[in-house]
């Protein structure tokens, strides 16, 4: 029997897919790339973007039509708004919050599909109790509540990593920040931290398997532990433990974290990153806007003074760190003057990379009930202006790397031409003229010989060249 999953949305959903696959495979299902030959099809949905939700509806209508021709079971999980969840209940056979993933085999069995695992005998009374509990539970999830009740079970599942050298390790799920433009707090529920012992074990296993790039994942990584009120280590402490483990391993690998929130970013986090080699010298610090009033309306709970302090601390303690950010242009009510303040921070902080988005209404977010009053053309214009600003600073950074040698993780072959592509520790793309696939997954020395706005090119230097240099 075959299964197929469609993953929509962000890295968190991708990471969750890695945990969903082994659960389904433990029932005897085999993966297929072709959804038309699968007997079990599922979606890891993302209610956060309307486009992604439209895709879910398109798919489920297609699958429901296909049910006339073949035996097919459908499920949906992931980031789902309460209103969407209600509708999905009528369209999908199985709807469940990710935290209940471990119960998926039982849910499939309840839907009458026979699999090697589901053949265990359960009496009718148990079936009835299960169904009633399930209906109650789904009603509660439909109201958007307690989505994370069973997160600890979910984290126990051993994931199937997509790559042999890069992995995402979830450390926290949910968000309590309620930025007004974002629906994540309503789709993923409250912040829940994964036990540090489990995180450390997963990271240790990855290091033992020679993974080179490990990203600690969460909606708000640096509020890690706060929900446990003193019964769990803090985020800097977690980083310190990973740093110590990395040092003891004697191996070369890079640990990243995304996304932190400026509100909870302490000097201690930056000090720890500076202290340990395995903690990658790349910081992603979402700013969203450079204007204090826009930040208030976004309910970001940080202001430019706080943000500036963090950037200065990064520059002081880790001068070689690359700095990435997220910016939204054209948020409700954003004036020309407020946008100019955002331009100023691009100039001031000289980001290596900025993920710039034109504001679009996210269903379910607080701002979805406010006027989306910045005209489309203005948003577009601001987007282009800011991108140009970014290109100037990122180009400057990249040009300064030319002629120097950097450690680069080779990630694969480029789609066109005879090139490999890789990432520096600071996550800048590097193109390498080589087709030697044995380098993929290794960290090698690359001498940078040219730079564009968003990427570098360089040659592999072998050990002898390096020693004679």
């Amino acid at each position: 029997m075959k299964y197929h999953i469609i993953t929509l949305g962000c890295q968190m959903n991708l990471s969750d897919t890695g945990r969903t696959k082994p659960v389904i495979e433990s029932m005897g299902y085999e993966w297929t790339d072709n959804e038309d030959e699968a007997q079990l099809v599922g979606i890891l949905a993302c209610s956060v973007r309307q486009k992604a939700i439209d895709k879910v509806y398109a798919r489920i209508h297609k699958w429901n039509r296909a049910k006339n021709q073949r035996n097919l079971l459908t499920f949906v999980t992931g980031c789902i708004l309460p209103a969407d969840r209600e509708k999905f209940l009528k369209l999908f056979d199985i709807v469940f919050p990710m935290s209940e993933l471990q119960e998926l085999p039982e849910m499939i069995r309840q839907n009458g599909i026979v699999t090697p695992v589901s053949l265990k005998v359960v009496n009718q009374q148990e079936d009835l109790v299960f169904r009633n509990e399930r209906v109650e539970q789904l009603k509660r999830s439909a109201a958007g509540l307690k989505l994370n009740e069973h997160m600890s079970d979910f984290w126990h599942i051993n994931p199937a990593y997509e790559s042999k050298f890069e992995a995402f390790v979830p450390i926290q799920n949910g968000c309590d920040k309620f930025c007004t433009f974002c629906a994540v707090p309503y789709t993923r529920g409250r912040e829940v931290s994964r036990p540090s012992t489990e995180i450390l074990e997963e990271v240790k296993n990855l290091v033992e398997q020679d993974y080179k790039s490990i990203t600690l994942l969460g909606q708000n990584v640096n509020s890690y532990g706060l929900d446990k009120k003193g019964e769990e280590v803090s985020f800097p402490e977690l980083l310190r433990l990973i740093g110590k483990m990395g040092k003891a391993s004697g191996k070369e690998f890079w640990v990243y974290f995304t996304s932190p929130h400026p509100r909870d970013m302490t000097d201690e986090v930056i000090e720890v990153v500076a202290q340990y080699d395995c903690l990658a010298k790349q910081i992603h610090l979402p700013g969203q806007s450079g204007d204090d009033k826009v930040l208030i309306r976004m309910n970001r709970k940080h202001n430019m003074e706080k943000y500036r302090h963090i950037v200065h601390t990064i520059r002081k303690l880790i001068p070689r760190a690359t700095l990435f950010t997220d910016i939204i242009v054209g948020f409700t009510g954003e004036t020309d003057e407020q946008f100019e303040n955002t331009r100023r921070i691009m100039e001031e902080f000289k980001y290596n990379m900025a993920y710039i988005a034109q504001y679009s209404v996210r269903p379910g977010a607080t701002s979805s009930r406010w006027d989306d009053d910045v005209p489309k053309e203005v948003k577009k214009q601001r987007y282009h202006t800011l991108t140009e600003d970014l290109m100037k600073t990122s180009h400057e950074h990249n040009k300064a790397m030319v002629g120097k040698t950097y450690r680069v993780l080779v990630r694969g072959k480029e789609r066109k031409g005879e090139f490999l592509s890789g990432l520096t520790e600071g996550r800048i793309n590097v193109r390498i003229p080589s087709t030697d696939m044995s380098l993929v997954g290794q960290i090698v020395d690359i001498k940078i010989n040219s730079a564009t706005e968003f990427s570098l090119a360089g040659d592999l230097i072998n050990q002898t060249e390096l020693q004679s240099a």
Binding site: L81, P82, A83, R85, E86, E103, E133, E136, Q137, K139, R140, A142, A143, G144, L145, K146, E149, H150, D176, F178, T180, P185, R263, D292, K293, I296, R297, N299, K301, N303, M304, E305, K306, G333, T366, R369, W370
Partner: protein
């Protein structure tokens, strides 16, 4: 399977303050909150939910919210029609619009609100009556001063823009221009975004540093 803890809260009482503004009292269900935080709630079984600041005090054995019925609004209208005994679905408490414990008795506070934006300050001042605060409340008409007797007379200043008879005739912005704010005062702004933006500019001009400004935008 774990048992489900219910988040249904039974409505105990509705208190009408004006034709459009009312207080909903519901059971507390042991909810712990920090004054200034808000709830996310709606009718039981309905997926539409909205945020409402907690209006009641820490020591009360009930929870209250202060709601203004919004023209063409959905939830604020639904809530107006509920009766004692009805159930609400409540999630929370959320938010960071709270006072730092170490500031409580060492700092001076200026609370600036418009309309129902007074709700978190009702909870804060009722829960910490000993703090050194001034509360500015900007509304259009006299009857919108809601339950002003809950605040000490010398600390509550109504700024009424459309009629005379309040403590100050004009907007909160006019009041602040005429009564400059000391830069060490911790200022908390809550309500409509236009009021918040205007006050923000004036306070910055008067030299209040960003770190002393906190705001909660309702709409």
């Amino acid at each position: 399977m774990e048992t489900i803890t219910h988040n249904k809260y039974t409505v105990k009482k509705i208190r009408e303050l004006t034709k459009s503004t009312y207080v909903v009292r519901m059971e507390r269900n042991g909810m712990a909150f920090i004054p200034g935080q808000n709830l996310n709630l709606g009718l039981a079984g309905d997926t539409e939910k909205r945020d409402y600041s907690i209006y009641s005090r820490k020591k009360d054995d009930y929870l209250e919210i202060l709601v203004k019925e919004v023209e063409d609004g959905l939830v604020s209208k639904q809530l107006k029609r509920i009766n004692p005994g009805d159930a609400l679905e409540v999630d929370g408490p959320f938010g960071f619009f709270t006072l730092k414990e170490e500031h409580l008795y060492s700092k001076k506070f200026l609370f600036i609100s418009s309309g129902t934006g007074i709700a978190p300050f009702h909870s804060i001042t009722g829960s910490f009556p000993e703090i050194d605060f001034t509360l500015l409340h900007g509304v259009r008409y006299l009857d919108e001063t809601y339950e002003k007797h809950d605040y000490p007379d010398d600390r509550y200043i109504s700024c009424i823009s459309q009629e005379a008879g309040g403590d100050f005739h004009g907007r909160v912005t006019d009041y602040i221009k005429q009564h400059p704010v000391d830069k060490d005062t911790l200022c908390y702004l809550c309500g409509n975004v236009n009021m918040i933006y205007d006050v923000f500019d004036i306070l910055k001009e008067q030299g209040v540093p960003s770190e002393n400004l906190h705001a909660e935008v309702y709409f």
